[in-house]
Symmetry: C2
């Protein structure tokens, strides 16, 4: 039997999972394409953004992963488009032919058309985003120390996180700890209560995919940590100087982080999906293009009437499943429909606090937090990164320190002209801390 | 007695050493100014450049160091100029007055007026430089895999280090190990002997400040590691496509690292020095400006007829000495002349290989290497960074791995037009490997 060439686009959780399963079979060779040379462990991105971890510790070189797979090659490049008719993909102007294609390019931040989000808010999807947030937060406090304008100082010391999903909650919690344990000690020029962390969520509760009691626990814990939690408050615009809410409130801030939503990355040549997600058959291929499989955040498959969540476990299970179906086809066996097995959900809020739901069982607090730590170390790729992240966590646990406070690129915050200033009565009241 | 205000420019080895000594005395308060928010441990920069260490592990937040000194404040900013008449410094357009000033702004890469160095070679002085080198080296190998042009592939796989001082030797050695233990395993598409590391030195031996037998040992060791060592070869130009030597040889290369020399950073308002170094009295102040002390790389003081080397131990001793002299003046005591106490020199070549000279005693090999490791861990700032660097080294020692192979910014190498191509007979022969 002639070998078949499978091209996998994207080395995230879905793509890597597909590669690992495909690599076992001698009848295929695989080309994995990614614009980065590393696999990014996105669930810990917020710790890079808040100076807890070094960026490379959650990024593992793809070639190091592929060393053990002799029939898999890596190609670093940007995918320009897919050409399903000629069965090839274009990467940086070069064509690569495939017999089967696994599309696992993931998702990008979604602004829902709200003005100013793209220009003035920072998403948290890439290593660059996380480092930009770290640079921006630390630069803001440095500048707040030097400015003589009290309104500017106030805005520089206000950090707004938009989106009350797991990323927003984890980020707001980590910022609150950075403030309490690090910034308060590092900046004798700043009173701790001057630093404000605001979490804005459009629906009426945080972590809406968990049960209401866990949402309430999450909110209570964040508020005890000093986060101002605003639910049922939608953002109408983000300006260079702050966030406008739909009810007219303006929150002056120079660092706004956008975690309110994601959308699948569109690839020219593939059908446009609903909400940026491509509908596939239960076997995970595109109905009219049976050689193209879509897995992960980009896949819009419904299960029990709901589209699947855009999380790592779905991507990993779909990647493996698509690989199995491709191999079954090659070996003349019928394909099997995919079914997501939900192993549970976990989100951390801060030191010793997390929430989780596994098969209807709810848990929160210290035990949930330990489970969260264990699960994340287990799924982190690379023995060395596990070692380094664990060392960092143990260090931070005992010292209360977030040590990676390095500003790589000092951010220059814009100056605000007098006429742009917002009337004082419209400003947000300082939340009690 | 009224408190005096001492301003320290630069948080390198010299500036920090001055701050630590000044902080002990209740009669002074200190403002430390640096454009970065971290103290950089420059001796290990080459390991960041070669994927051995994460950047933040050799950068320690200045504010973390200053926590224990209540009379010291930090100001992050760029020093525009010094105004000795009004006794103030200008930082980002703001004036800061001083009673005494310690100038410890260090040195920058020096190109000796050789064309193209500034534009096409990368120095190794800052964290940004080190990350740029890492990005460039890894991007070059990734592109070499994809190119179909053999000449371009050859140039992409050639890394040229200019300068046979400790930085050049350490960097060339680390690149050779990266090639042997990592790149050879990561890139099945590239034969190990295709990757070439060339070390170019203008004088007739490497590490010229050590005795000739250690220079010979260094050269032999590097050659055994596969580095092409070229001594008595001066660079006449660096182009986007390679290095021209004065004898007419052209070495095609897209990654040229310049470690051939440094010069003191000039500050407007201070006297220009000879070779970029300001001559001071033996008490370390500027003859006509007795309130301004200059320490470290910028200080051009001679001792026994020779200017002092631009290394960390000189800066540390001078920083402490300048602080002591300022305090003596404040307390009405006479100042004392500085004298450098040379504790010895060490340079590492690679795994298990280093050279050292302490008070006339020469040593090389495994023992020198262990000494080098111990000294660098000892002088590294911050318990946490010691822990992380040591973990990294232990990991690398046992696994032969350099794990930080993350490309943050993929480098786009320029295309070479046909007419710019260099005749083949002028090209460097492949060194035996």
């Amino acid at each position: 039997m002639a070998t078949r060439h499978v091209v996998v686009l994207g080395a995230g959780f879905g793509g890597l999972s597909a590669v690992k399963h495909l690599a076992r079979d001698r009848s295929v060779h695989v080309t994995l394409i990614d614009r980065n040379n590393y696999h990014l462990f996105q669930p810990l991105l917020y710790q890079v953004a808040t100076a807890g971890l070094e960026a490379p510790q959650i990024a593992w070189p793809i070639r190091a992963i592929l060393r053990r797979y002799p029939r898999v090659r890596f190609w670093m490049g940007n995918v320009d488009s897919v050409d399903p008719l000629d069965k090839r993909v274009w990467v940086d102007g070069k064509a690569i032919s495939y017999d089967y294609l696994v599309v696992s390019v993931g998702s990008t931040s979604h602004d829902y058309g709200i003005p100013g989000v793209r220009e003035n808010a920072i998403p948290l999807k890439s290593l660059g985003d996380a480092m930009r947030i770290r640079d921006r937060v630390l630069s803001a406090v440095e500048e707040a120390v030097r400015t003589t304008d009290p309104a500017r100082r106030r805005a520089l010391l206000t950090f707004v996180v938009v989106g009350g999903g797991p990323t927003g909650v984890e980020l707001a919690g980590a910022l609150a700890e950075l403030k309490r344990h690090v910034l308060a000690r590092d900046y004798p020029e700043v009173a701790s209560e001057e630093i404000r962390i605001v979490l804005v969520e459009a629906t009426d509760r945080l972590l809406g995919y968990l049960s209401p009691s866990l949402s309430a626990y999450t909110r209570r814990t964040l508020e005890q940590m000093g986060v101002a939690v605003m639910t049922s408050r939608a953002v109408s615009e983000v300006t260079p100087f702050g966030v406008c809410l739909r009810d007219g409130t303006f929150i002056p801030s120079y660092v706004v982080i956008w975690t309110a939503g994601v959308t699948g990355i569109a690839l020219p040549g593939l059908p446009a999906g609903r909400n940026g997600r491509i509908a596939t058959t239960p076997e995970l291929y595109i109905p009219d293009l049976p050689d193209i499989y879509v897995v992960g955040d980009l896949n819009g498959l419904e299960q029990d009437g709901k589209t699947l969540p855009q999380v790592a476990p779905v991507a990993m299970q779909q990647g493996a499943w698509a690989a199995r179906n491709i191999l079954r086809r090659i070996h003349g066996k019928p394909q099997l429909p995919f079914r997501y097995r939900d192993k549970g959900n976990l989100a951390t809020i801060g030191r010793k606090h997390a929430v989780g739901e596994v098969k209807g069982l709810r848990f929160s607090g210290y035990l949930a937090w330990l489970t969260w730590l264990a699960v994340h170390i287990y799924y982190l790729t690379g023995f060395r990164n596990r070692l380094m992240v664990l060392s960092n966590w143990i260090y931070s646990y005992f010292t209360y320190d977030f040590a990676v406070r390095v500003i790589h690129h000092r951010h220059q915050f814009p100056c605000q002209a007098e006429e742009e200033a917002v009337p004082a009565q419209q400003m947000l009241e300082t939340p009690t801390d």
